[in-house]
């Protein structure tokens, strides 16, 4: 998903630019709990929109593994948010392009349902 952004703090080359967004590294000083990077493990995703990827998903949980997060220019591109010290976009969309920060293939029923949703409207 991070490659779909314009640019990332992780590298110098431009991203694909499919989502109007930039990618930043988590600032561990801002994390509320005494936790560290990478953000690895299960976390909640709060769907902003429930009509596409998250259709039928109530309080889904997903498996995450990342140290950088996407900051979208416009809220309309954010499908779900999660919190790891800061609130970040855990799923994004622009037109027919969808991205998830978490690993749906490693996230039990919540991942299976999300992939099924994607396959159905794709």
């Amino acid at each position: 998903m991070q490659m779909m952004a314009r640019a990332s703090e992780e590298g110098k080359l431009p991203g694909l630019g499919w989502i109007d967004a930039t990618v930043e590294r988590f600032d561990t000083r801002l994390l509320e709990s005494k936790t560290h990077l990478p953000h690895m493990g299960w976390n909640d995703a709060r769907p902003v929109r429930t009509d596409t990827l998250f259709s039928g998903l109530n309080a889904p949980r997903y498996y995450f593994l990342h140290s950088y997060f996407m900051k979208a220019d416009r809220e309309e591109n954010v499908l779900a948010t999660s919190n790891y010290g800061v609130t970040f976009a855990s799923a994004v969309q622009a037109g027919n392009v969808y991205g998830t920060q978490f690993h749906p293939e490693k996230s039990h029923q919540w991942g299976v349902r999300l992939l099924k949703n994607f396959a159905e409207f794709a």
Binding site: P38, W42, Y63, L65, K106, H108, G111, V112
Partner: protein
């Protein structure tokens, strides 16, 4: 909840004090059961590989990783960074090292540099008399 499965002769076993392995089922079938139970992670340890000096069973690992609907940690017969990279490339989240890490602690930092420290796990088997080393070096 993180179940830990032991692989011996291609099947899953339950042991008592690292001994008397008792067959309890097929690994892939167990993964499906734990998918149903929605466990947080799964740890699979091949208890033959190091003893036999064999390579990890990459075919089994790949099969396990593709069946797993949760993060997977594999251990057994892992001695080199190249093996760790290969296992991660098969879709495994974490690799556990045990006797190789005791013999060569640098393996831990070398592996962490290549695949990230989040993916390197060290398993330490302890008996009352000291460290248990399956490869026979060091005290039992």
């Amino acid at each position: 909840l993180i179940p830990c499965l032991l692989v011996h002769n291609g099947g899953l076993v339950k042991t008592v004090n690292f001994d008397n392995p008792k067959y309890v089922g097929d690994p892939i079938n167990a993964v499906r059961i734990y998918n149903e139970k929605e466990v947080d992670e799964l740890v699979v340890l091949d208890i033959d590989a190091t003893v036999k000096g064999a390579e990890p069973d990459y075919q089994l690992i790949s099969h396990l990783a593709s069946e797993c609907r949760m993060p997977l940690c594999y251990g057994g017969g892992v001695r080199t960074v190249a093996q760790i990279e290969k296992i991660i490339s098969l879709g495994v989240e974490k690799v556990a090292v045990s006797s190789a890490a005791v013999e060569n602690p640098k393996l831990i930092s070398d592996a962490a540099t290549r695949v990230g420290r989040q993916s390197v796990v060290v398993v330490i088997d302890v008996r009352k008399t000291g460290l248990l080393s399956p490869s026979g070096s060091g005290n039992p």
